[in-house]
């Protein structure tokens, strides 16, 4: 089955998640190809963040499987998911507020470095070299996302847009194959959003696949190769941005019920 799917990075099959009586996700299947920007949209409460949380091991799905990079991703703890190569940001920014911007990104290097207690205390040559490399790389990443000038400031003192960028830098520090962004443009003005679009395109160009939850339709439609649309936990469409935009089910989900369907049918 996965023979012809060498270009598929992440495949979700029949993912379901229930919270008590609420069906947050019902039998959702999708696949993300290497090197694409894959959008995940849907009205509020459609299950987008739930899908993120299930994928990154914060919750465990009730049914369904993920296949990541050719291998299953089942019941894996959050930190193992990061190790496998999926890094994420959070809808409500979750930085390490009382640490400097640089340290935030340095923590992202944790999973790709090895120094233990003994190394930390003895500070042998290898640990020192590793520390220097961590700092160097973290700084480069801050430059990459454009907040290097705030490297030594506490994360909580950064401007909102910079915090979003810092969170992306921290996620990139784990060397992800898939970067999962949960509403990175939320609360951004038009200039900031267009800056973000450029950043996303840079990240993709440099070889990282992106999964993007976003409410800003202009951004989604301009940057995403393909889009998955959820509504009430169910997949209602998957396809190119242009196709999805014209899908009557999608229009109805966003504009609500039959009223929206009527003009679409007439067209």
């Amino acid at each position: 089955m996965s023979s012809g799917d060498a270009d598929v990075l992440l495949e979700g099959k029949g993912i379901s998640k229930r919270f008590g009586g609420l069906h947050a996700l019902v039998d959702v299947s999708f696949s993300i190809r290497r090197g694409e920007i894959y959008g995940l949209i849907g009205p509020n409460g459609a299950g987008k963040t739930s899908l993120f949380n299930v994928l990154t091991g914060i919750y465990e799905q009730d049914a369904g499987t993920f296949t990541f990079d050719g291998e299953p991703l089942v019941g894996t703890a959050s930190h193992d998911v990061a190790k496998r190569g999926i890094a994420r940001t959070f809808q409500n920014i979750r930085l390490f507020a009382n640490l400097s911007a640089l340290e935030n990104v340095m923590i992202g290097r944790h999973v790709r470095t090895r120094a233990g207690v003994v190394g930390a205390i003895v500070r042998d040559a290898r640990t020192q070299a590793e520390e220097a490399a961590i700092e160097e790389r973290a700084y480069r990443l801050l430059e990459y996302v454009g907040v290097a000038r705030r490297a030594n400031d506490l994360a909580k003192h950064l401007a909102y847009g910079d915090q979003r960028r810092l969170e992306i830098a921290r996620a990139l520090a784990t060397e992800p194959k898939l970067l999962a962004l949960d509403e990175p443009a939320a609360g951004m003005n038009a200039t900031e959003t267009s800056g973000l679009r450029k950043l996303l395109e840079d990240i993709r160009r440099d070889g990282t696949t992106i999964l993007l939850i976003e409410h800003d339709m202009k951004l989604v439609m301009s940057v995403c190769d393909r889009v998955l649309v959820l509504d009430y936990g169910r997949k209602i469409a998957e396809g190119s941005a242009a196709d999805v935009q014209r899908d009557p089910k999608v229009i109805s989900a966003y504009l609500g019920g039959e009223i929206a369907l009527a003009p679409a049918n007439r067209a």
Binding site: I58, H79, A82, L95, F96, S100, L102, E103, T127, R170
Partner: protein, 370 residues
């Protein structure tokens, strides 16, 4: 005074790449000289003050250990004194007539540290999912359980000798060199407490270096990440379970070592030395000084362990001079002032006397070289 110099030195060390390394060395030499002379200055006032200083250094050790758990990893621990007790009893039972064992201290201290470390993991393992007040309650219970065990493990087999405690504990000995004996060398008198003082100063320097290096390392950053946001830490690939257990284990082992030294310097221990108030005292030192800042924690420990002694010697004369008689007992006024100090601190310096500052890193250098 010494401590301010130390703090000064610390900040200077952080910026050392910028230049004045030579200046830092002068500071180190000055501090070393001050620390070397201090016990003789204190002994001239009274040997009691050397003992008080030794106890203060033990509290510094304890606070630094607790700071790993509370300050770095953000896990509120109200039963920390239990690890001190484990270390103290390990030493007492292995170096006293109680079991007629007399192992040398350099064997027992690591055993005590290891044992405390195991107890740290035992406490950590069931509390991994707890935070804040819930964790505080469980750790408080743990501390009490250890004390109650020590109180009651005299039956059916007498292990701890119950509330009577263990007496005639061996002092430190290296060959024929006995830490408890007074010796004269080059015309200077080295009393027992002065010898222990030097040992404690060396120990505290080692522990400070370990703490500084741990904090500024991959491990220390992982702890701080857990303190700041556990969910995000896990999403960054940090194994929060192992890192929390490591914090508990490291903190506990420092407590265990301090306990061993406490045993040897006192010569007698009983469960009464390890009550809840002691845990709270150590926690207050950490909070008052500045959680997470090593220099702040040291300052907090020194202030809070010296304050009662200073008051003991000043409250009575001051009152007699002012009112002609004693109105308030020193013990009462001590708790009063202690409470007042904590309230004032929470109002005016909620992050501690020396709050932890951002660690500025040298980035200019890199910007210059393209």
């Amino acid at each position: 005074m010494t401590l301010l110099e130390l703090k000064d030195l610390a900040t200077r060390n952080v910026h050392s790449a910028r230049g004045d390394r030579r200046f830092a060395w002068v500071g180190v030499v000055l501090i070393a000289a001050a620390l070397a002379i201090l016990p003789f200055a204190l002994a001239s006032i009274g040997t009691a003050w050397v003992r008080i200083t030794n106890l203060a250094i033990l509290y510094v050790l304890l606070s630094l250990g607790l700071n790993i758990v509370v300050g770095f990893a953000g896990l509120l621990d109200l039963g920390y004194i239990a690890f001190y007790a484990v270390g103290a009893y390990a030493y007492a039972l292995l170096a006293s007539p109680h079991f007629n064992l007399h192992l040398p201290f350099w064997v027992i201290l690591p055993i005590g540290a290891g044992l405390a470390c195991i107890f740290g993991v035992l406490l950590g393992a069931p509390t991994l999912k707890l935070r804040g007040d819930y964790l505080a309650i469980v750790t408080l219970g743990f501390g009490e359980i250890i004390r109650i065990f020590l109180n009651n493990l005299s039956q059916p087999v007498n292990i701890t000798n119950g509330p009577q405690g263990v007496t005639l504990i061996d002092p430190f000995r290296i060959g024929t060199f006995n830490f408890a004996r007074t010796e004269t060398l080059l015309g200077m008198t080295f009393s027992g407490p002065i010898k222990y003082y030097y040992f404690l100063v060396l120990l505290v320097i080692v522990i400070i270096v370990i703490n500084l290096r741990l904090q500024d390392s991959r491990i220390g950053r992982a702890w701080e990440a857990i303190r700041e946001d556990e969910v995000a830490a896990r999403a960054m690939g940090i194994n929060t379970r192992n890192m929390k257990l490591l914090a508990f284990a490291m903190g506990a082992s420092f407590g265990g070592v301090s306990g061993g030294v406490f045993s040897a310097t006192q010569g007698f221990i009983s469960p009464e030395s390890f009550v809840l108030v002691e845990s709270i005292m150590v926690l207050s030192m950490v909070v008052l000084g500045g959680m997470g800042n090593i220099w702040g924690v040291i300052l907090g420990a020194i202030l809070l362990s010296f304050a009662p002694e200073v008051l003991r010697y000043t409250v009575e004369p001051v009152q007699r001079a002012l009112f002609g008689r004693m109105i308030i007992e020193p013990e009462v006024i001590r708790m009063l002032l202690f409470g007042l100090a904590l309230v004032l601190m929470m109002l005016f310096r909620p992050a501690g006397i020396l709050p932890s500052a951002v660690r500025k890193r040298e980035l200019e250098r890199r910007k210059e070289t393209p």
